[in-house]
Chain length 172, copies 2
């Protein structure tokens, strides 16, 4: 009888430990953002959402593309974006085109220079619950950005709450 009691007590203790470990893992997941660590395949063939030019410290010319799920949501004006939507921002150095300026006879033309990075927002409301349902990714030369950089994505995008954390509007 004593032996049985001991076994039950041990099993209960083990159960408590297991439950506690699971709960703590869940809390960690909720607290720590998960980032996009793989470049979504085929993104360079996606449909144009819009173009952007950032000055400040960036001097960047960009094209924002969307996969089919994202484009459908944009065109139908539906928010929030559904799971499966992916938005890609291709960034290039904003550089003058000497070639074009020579032909135009004046300095007026700026084009996409060397690529700087490609950034992604991947919608998965379960996986990325802790960052508004969006997973953020940044790749330069095919390599993912540092965690410190990736941690800056969500707080800034969170300010665009009215458009489901997405800055770029669809250009007709």
């Amino acid at each position: 009888m004593k032996r049985i009691f001991l076994l039950v007590a041990l099993a209960a203790a083990a159960g408590i430990v297991a439950v506690t470990a699971r709960a703590s893992r869940r809390a960690d997941q909720a607290a720590a953002p998960i980032f996009v660590t793989q470049i979504p395949s085929g993104y360079r063939d996606w449909i144009l959402i819009s173009v952007a030019h950032e000055e400040g410290n960036l001097h960047s010319l960009g094209a924002v593309l969307g996969n089919k799920v994202a484009i459908k949501a944009y065109r139908e004006g539906k928010l929030p974006f559904p799971d499966g939507a992916i938005i890609a921002a291709l960034h290039f150095q904003h550089v003058p085109s000497e070639e074009n300026n020579k032909i135009f006879g004046r300095s007026q033309s700026f084009i996409a220079g060397p690529p700087t990075n490609v950034q992604f927002m991947v919608k998965d409301s379960t996986k990325y619950a802790s960052t508004g349902g969006w997973g953020f990714g940044h790749f330069a030369d095919g390599k993912p950005g540092a965690e410190a950089l990736l941690k800056t994505c969500f707080p800034c995008h969170a300010r665009a709450k009215a458009s489901d954390l997405v800055f770029t509007h669809y250009a007709p």
Copy 2:
């Protein structure tokens, strides 16, 4: 006999007139450029070639897209572009984004404002032989541009002879 001769003479004369008319029509066609008068269908879903920012009198932010034939030629680095290639340039007003600047806390963000025009280059080395094999098109609000405007396309593009009259390079 006289009647037959008269008929033959009349037929011959008519033939000469017809031949002359055809020749003159051909000469006119060679001299007068033919423009693209219909918007190529589905162009908004085409693949991105690159982005561009024009100042001078334009203040324009643009996205250049290509159909499958054009994209294949770009990616394979093959010049001249084959017949069937179509390049679309979507132009928008280059405007500051008050929305983004507010979030960034500084004036740095420029986006695609109202659309200004969509321009096309359609490769058909027979039909557009008089303008380097390219047909030029310009549409604002869905309506084709005036002939006087369209006549300015070829002389300027002709200066980009090394890249088969195409200004835009493919952005990776």
